[in-house]
C-alpha cells in the first residue's frame, strides 16, 4: 500500500476547519499520513505573521519557536512569552470569574460551579486580548502547566531530526515563582 499523504492546502483547510465534511471524514477514518507534522508546520508558517521557525504548535494560538539559541513561546499575534519550559500562563493576563453574574453568564441553569470552591480562570494574551485558555479548577490550585513537551526527545528520537541547542527537559516555572517571592 502506498503511503498516505495530503498536500499542505488540504492540511491547511483541515486545521482551519474549512475542509468539507466528506474529506474530513475520510481523513478521520483513513490511515494516518506519516508526514503530517511537517505539512502541518508548513501550513502554520503561512498563517503566522512572523519569521521565527515553529518547532511545535502548543495551542491554536501559541507556538514554541526557535529564537536565536533559545526556544520561546510566541502568540500568533507576535507577543512573546518566556522559555517554553516555564508555564506560559505566568506571563499572561488573568481574570477570575467570581461574581454570581459572571457565573450565570456561562451557566444559566441550576447546575453551576461555586466560586468559593472553584475558580474559573481566564487567561488573555497581553498582546492581542485573545482568550488563550480557561482553567476550571479547585479554588487555590496552582496554575496548571497543561503540557511541557519533551522537545529534544521528540526531534532526536522520534523524528530523527535533532534540534540544535538541546535543552534539559525540566519545568522551570518554580524558578520564576522564586523570583516573584524575592520581589516581595
Amino acid at each position: 500500500m502506498s503511503k498516505i499523504t495530503y498536500n499542505k492546502e488540504i492540511i491547511g483547510d483541515l486545521m482551519d476547519g474549512k475542509l468539507d465534511w466528506h474529506r474530513t471524514k475520510a481523513i478521520i477514518s483513513g490511515h494516518k499520513d506519516e508526514d503530517r507534522f511537517e505539512k502541518h508546520l508548513e501550513a502554520l508558517s503561512e498563517r503566522t505573521p512572523w519569521k521565527e521557525k515553529i518547532l511545535l504548535p502548543l495551542t491554536d494560538e501559541l507556538f514554541i519557536v526557535a529564537k536565536g539559541t533559545e526556544r520561546i513561546i510566541k502568540c500568533r499575534c507576535g507577543y512573546e512569552y518566556g522559555d517554553y519550559r516555564e508555564n506560559w500562563k505566568l506571563s499572561a493576563l488573568i481574570h477570575v470569574r467570581e461574581t454570581e453574574e459572571e457565573i450565570n453568564e456561562l451557566y444559566p441553569y441550576p447546575s453551576k460551579p461555586d466560586p468559593q470552591y472553584c475558580e474559573i480562570r481566564e487567561f488573555y494574551c497581553p498582546g492581542c486580548g485573545t482568550q488563550l485558555e480557561v482553567e476550571t479548577v479547585p479554588f487555590g490550585y496552582p496554575l496548571v502547566f497543561d503540557f511541557l513537551p519533551d522537545l529534544d526527545t521528540f526531534y532526536r528520537e522520534w523524528l530523527k531530526k535533532p534540534l540544535d541547542n538541546e535543552k534539559e527537559f525540566k519545568d522551570l516555572t518554580y524558578d520564576v515563582i522564586k523570583c516573584w517571592a524575592k520581589e516581595g
Binding site: R36, L56, K89, V96, L106, S111, C118, F147
Partner: protein
C-alpha cells in the same frame, strides 16, 4: 476433569496446569520485554494473510456471540442501549480480542480468569467443559457491580485452550438503594447481589440454586436471569466457533497465532504513539465530591468529603503511557473510590476509542500503559470492604479529563482531527417502588448512553449522543422503555445555552421529561456516577469553557389531574431559564437536586413529574469570540442558543427577521463588539504575578471552605512530588497545612 494437587497432568492444552502456564507467560514476558518472549513473529512473517484471516474469524465469533445475546436478553439496557461485550481470552487469561460494545472490560474479565488461576480453581473447584462462572465482585476485578461477567472455559479434545467471556450491565442488583449503582452503599456489604467468580452452572445449564438465589436477591430477577442465559448463549457461540477455527487452523497455530496477535498489537500501540503524539508531561487536577450526609448510610459513614486526585500524564520516549496519580487523597466509606482494576479498565476504554481503534485492542495494548496508583488512596484503597457501586467515577471523571490531555499531544503533532476537549461527567438515577403493573420493581435508568453532549473538537463542534464509556451510544426507543418503567416520556430535547462555549462548542446534552405513570410509589436515588457539583471539571481547551452539568427537577403531589381536566399545558421541556415551564405549569412540591449521590426525599406517584438534564460538562474549544458567525447563526436558527448568549459569549450582533423567520447577522456591529471584548479583557485582566500574590495571601489566611482545606490537607499529607510542587508554587513552608 478434577485434579488433585499431586497431579502432574494439568488441564491446559500442553499438559501443564494453567497456573504453570501463567507463570511461564509472566517469566518469558518479563525476561524478554516481548509478550511471551516473542521477539520474532514467525507466523506473521510466514503468511501474514493467513494470520489476518485467523484474526477475522476470531473477531467474527465474538461479534456473533454479542449479537446473539441481544436477541435473547429481555432488558432494554441490552436490546436498546447495547450495554454488553464478548471477549476471547487465552488459557492464561489474556484478552486476544473483543467484540464491539462496552470495551472497557477487555483486561478486566481476564483479571477474573487470572484470579481464578491464582486461587487454584483447577484443583480447588475443578474446571470442566460446560462450566459457567459468574462474577461481579469488583474487589477481584471490574468497573462496578452491575457489570456482570459470565465466563466459560473453552476445551478442545478435553484440554483447556482458552476462555469466552461476556459482560452485561444489569439494571437492578438488589442493593440498599434502588437500581444498580446505589448512592447509599458505603461499604461492599450494601452493594447488592454478588458473585465472586462463582460456578453458577455446569454442562451449559445454570444451577437451580443459582436461579433461586437470584429470585430472592434482586428486584427484577427475570431480567437478570434472561441476561445470564443471553451471556451463556454468546459464550457457547464463541466456544463452538473457536472449536471450528481450531479444526481449520490446527491447535498449534491457534495457540501461537493468538500470542502473535497480542505481541503485534503491543508493538503497534507503541508505534502509533510515536507517530501521532509528542512526548512530554501533561497535568490536570481531578476532584470528587461525596456528600454522604445526603443519602441513607450508617451514621459513621455520613461524612461529606471532597477529594483531590492530581493527574500527571506522561508520554515516555519509548512510546509507553504513564499515569501518575501522586497526591491522590484518601479513600472513604462511599461508593465512589476506584481500584487499580477499574483504572486499567478506564485506560483500555479510552485507548481503544482514541488511538488503538483498529478493533485489535487486547492485552498487548494494555502492556503499553504504566500507572502510579498510591496505595491506601482514593485510587487504590487498602480496604477490601469498600463499596464498589461507583468505581466508575474516576474512569469517567478522570478519564474525561485525560481525553483532553492526550488531545493536546495529537494537536501538537498536527492531528487536529483527533483532538477533542474533555467530557468528564454522566448522570443517571435509580428508582424503585411499584411499577405501572402494580409489581415491586427497581431499575437503573441508562438511556444516558446516547444523551450526553461531547467535548468540542479542534476543527468542529461537539456531538450529541456521545458517552466515552459507551462507544455504541444509543438512548433507546421511548416506547420500549415505557414497557418496563412507570414513566411516560413527555419530552426529550436538547437544552439550549448549556454546552461548553468556544470557537467550536461542545455538544448539547439532552433533557428528558417524564410524568410518573400509574405508579403509586416511586422512590428515586440519584446515582453518583460522577461527583462534580461545586467544583466543575477542567474540560475546556485553548480558551473554551466547561459545559453545564447535570441536574434533576421534580414535582411531588402535582396537580396533573386538574391540568388534564381543564386542558391546561403540561410539561414537555425546560422552557426559559429564568421562567421554567415546570414552575410555570405545575403546582405541587418542587424539588431540585444538582449534587450527585443523594436519595431524593420524596415519594412520587401517578401524575408527578421528573426532569433530568444529562449534562456531561464537556468542554468547548478555542476563544468563543473567534467562532464563525455562520455557525452561531445556525445555532440561533435552531433555537440552541439565545441572542443574549450570542452577544455575551460570542460577541455577535444579530436581529430576528420575522418575515424570513431567521436570524440576520450584523457583521459590522459584530466586528466592533469583538474588538470591544478584547479591549475589555485587556482592561480587566491583571498580570498573573498580581493574582498569585493575592491568592497566596488568601491561602495563608485560610480563606476557603473547610471541605476544601480538608481536601488539600489530605493530598498534601499523602502526596510526594505533588505536595512539593504545590508548596513550591505557593512558596509555602515544608510543614504547611491548611
Amino acid at each position: 476433569m478434577k485434579l488433585t494437587k499431586e497431579s502432574t497432568q494439568g488441564i491446559a492444552y500442553n499438559g501443564k496446569t494453567i497456573k504453570e502456564l501463567l507463570e511461564e507467560r509472566d517469566k518469558r514476558t518479563a525476561k524478554s520485554g516481548y509478550y511471551y518472549g516473542l521477539k520474532e513473529l514467525e507466523l506473521y512473517k510466514g503468511d501474514p494473510m493467513k494470520l489476518e484471516l485467523f484474526f477475522s474469524r476470531l473477531l467474527a465469533a465474538t461479534i456473533a456471540g454479542r449479537e446473539t445475546t441481544r436477541m435473547i436478553s429481555g432488558s432494554p439496557q441490552i436490546r436498546e442501549v447495547a450495554e454488553l461485550a464478548t471477549g476471547l481470552y487465552t488459557a492464561e487469561g489474556d484478552c486476544v480480542l473483543q467484540s464491539t460494545g462496552i470495551i472497557i472490560h477487555i483486561p478486566l474479565m481476564g483479571e477474573v480468569i487470572k484470579w481464578m488461576i491464582n486461587q487454584d480453581y483447577e484443583h480447588e473447584e475443578g474446571i470442566h467443559d460446560g462450566d459457567i462462572i459468574t462474577s461481579n465482585d469488583n474487589v477481584i476485578a471490574g468497573m462496578h457491580p452491575p457489570d456482570v461477567y459470565d465466563i466459560i472455559p473453552i476445551f478442545y479434545h478435553e484440554k483447556l485452550v482458552g476462555w469466552a467471556a461476556t459482560v452485561i450491565m444489569e439494571a437492578e442488583l438488589g442493593a440498599v438503594a434502588p437500581g444498580a449503582m446505589s448512592s447509599a452503599a458505603s461499604e461492599r456489604f450494601l452493594d447488592g447481589i454478588r458473585f465472586s467468580a462463582e460456578k453458577t452452572g455446569e454442562n451449559d445449564v445454570h444451577y437451580k440454586s443459582f436461579e433461586r438465589r437470584v429470585r430472592s436477591g434482586v428486584r427484577l430477577p427475570d431480567l437478570f436471569l434472561l441476561d445470564r442465559k443471553g451471556a451463556l448463549a454468546a459464550n457457547i457461540k464463541v466456544r463452538e466457533d473457536i472449536r471450528r477455527i481450531i479444526e481449520e487452523f490446527g491447535l498449534d497455530y491457534f495457540i501461537e497465532a493468538q500470542r502473535e496477535l497480542i505481541e503485534i498489537e503491543r508493538r503497534a500501540q507503541l508505534e502509533r504513539v510515536k507517530r501521532r503524539t509528542v512526548p512530554g508531561k501533561f497535568h490536570v487536577p481531578v476532584t470528587f465530591e461525596n456528600y454522604m450526609t445526603k443519602t441513607f448510610v450508617p451514621p459513621h459513614h455520613a461524612i461529606d468529603q471532597i477529594r483531590l486526585v492530581p493527574m500527571d500524564f506522561i508520554i515516555q520516549p519509548d512510546g509507553k503511557y504513564f499515569l501518575d496519580l501522586d497526591g491522590a487523597g484518601p479513600w472513604g466509606w462511599h461508593p465512589s473510590n476506584t481500584t487499580p482494576s477499574s483504572m486499567r479498565g478506564a485506560m483500555c476504554l479510552l485507548l481503544s476509542q482514541t488511538i488503538a481503534y483498529t478493533g485489535a485492542a487486547n492485552e498487548g495494548t494494555m502492556m503499553c500503559v504504566d500507572m502510579n496508583l498510591p496505595y491506601d488512596s482514593y485510587v487504590n484503597p487498602s480496604s477490601k470492604n469498600i463499596a464498589t457501586g461507583n468505581l466508575f467515577s474516576f474512569p469517567i471523571n478522570g478519564g474525561g479529563a485525560w481525553l483532553r490531555l492526550q488531545s493536546m499531544a495529537f494537536f501538537s503533532r498536527g492531528f487536529v482531527e483527533e483532538c477533542i476537549a474533555g467530557s468528564p461527567t454522566s448522570a443517571t438515577f435509580g428508582m424503585s417502588g411499584k411499577d405501572h403493573y402494580g409489581n415491586d420493581f427497581g431499575f437503573l435508568m441508562t438511556d444516558i448512553a446516547g444523551t450526553c453532549g461531547s467535548g468540542a473538537f479542534a476543527i468542529r463542534d461537539g456531538l450529541t449522543g456521545h458517552a466515552p464509556w459507551q462507544p455504541v451510544s444509543d438512548m433507546g426507543n421511548v416506547e420500549v422503555w415505557e414497557l418496563f418503567l412507570p414513566l411516560s416520556w413527555t419530552g426529550r430535547g436538547l437544552l439550549p445555552n448549556s454546552c461548553g462555549w468556544g470557537k467550536y462548542r461542545g455538544g448539547f446534552s439532552i433533557m428528558a421529561t417524564w410524568m410518573v405513570y400509574k405508579s403509586q410509589l416511586l422512590g428515586l436515588d440519584i446515582t453518583p456516577v460522577v461527583l462534580l457539583d461545586k467544583i466543575y471539571p477542567n474540560s475546556g481547551m485553548f480558551g473554551g469553557y466547561t459545559g453545564t452539568g447535570p441536574f434533576y427537577k421534580m414535582v411531588e403531589g402535582a396537580n396533573t389531574e386538574t391540568l388534564l381536566q381543564e386542558k391546561l399545558p403540561l410539561l414537555h421541556h425546560y422552557g426559559h431559564p429564568l421562567n421554567p415551564d415546570m414552575e410555570k405549569n405545575i403546582q405541587g412540591r418542587h424539588l431540585l437536586e444538582t449534587s450527585r449521590g443523594v436519595s431524593i426525599p420524596g415519594v412520587f406517584r401517578h401524575g408527578d413529574w421528573l426532569q433530568v438534564h444529562y449534562g456531561q460538562q464537556a468542554g468547548g474549544f478555542g476563544d468563543p469570540i473567534k467562532r464563525d458567525t455562520g455557525l452561531i447563526k445556525k445555532d440561533l436558527d435552531s433555537g440552541l442558543i439565545t441572542l443574549e448568549i450570542s452577544g455575551k459569549i460570542f460577541g455577535m450582533a444579530a436581529s430576528y427577521d420575522e418575515h424570513r423567520e431567521e436570524w440576520i447577522i450584523d457583521q459590522d456591529k459584530t466586528i466592533k463588539l469583538r474588538e470591544e471584548k478584547k479591549k475589555e479583557r485587556l482592561r480587566k485582566g491583571i498580570p498573573v504575578k498580581e493574582w498569585w500574590k493575592k491568592r497566596r495571601k488568601d491561602l495563608l489566611q485560610g480563606k476557603m471552605p473547610e471541605l476544601m482545606k480538608d481536601m488539600y490537607n489530605c493530598s498534601l499529607d499523602k502526596g510526594e512530588h505533588w505536595s512539593r510542587n504545590f508548596k513550591s508554587f505557593w512558596m509555602l513552608r515544608d510543614d504547611f497545612t491548611f
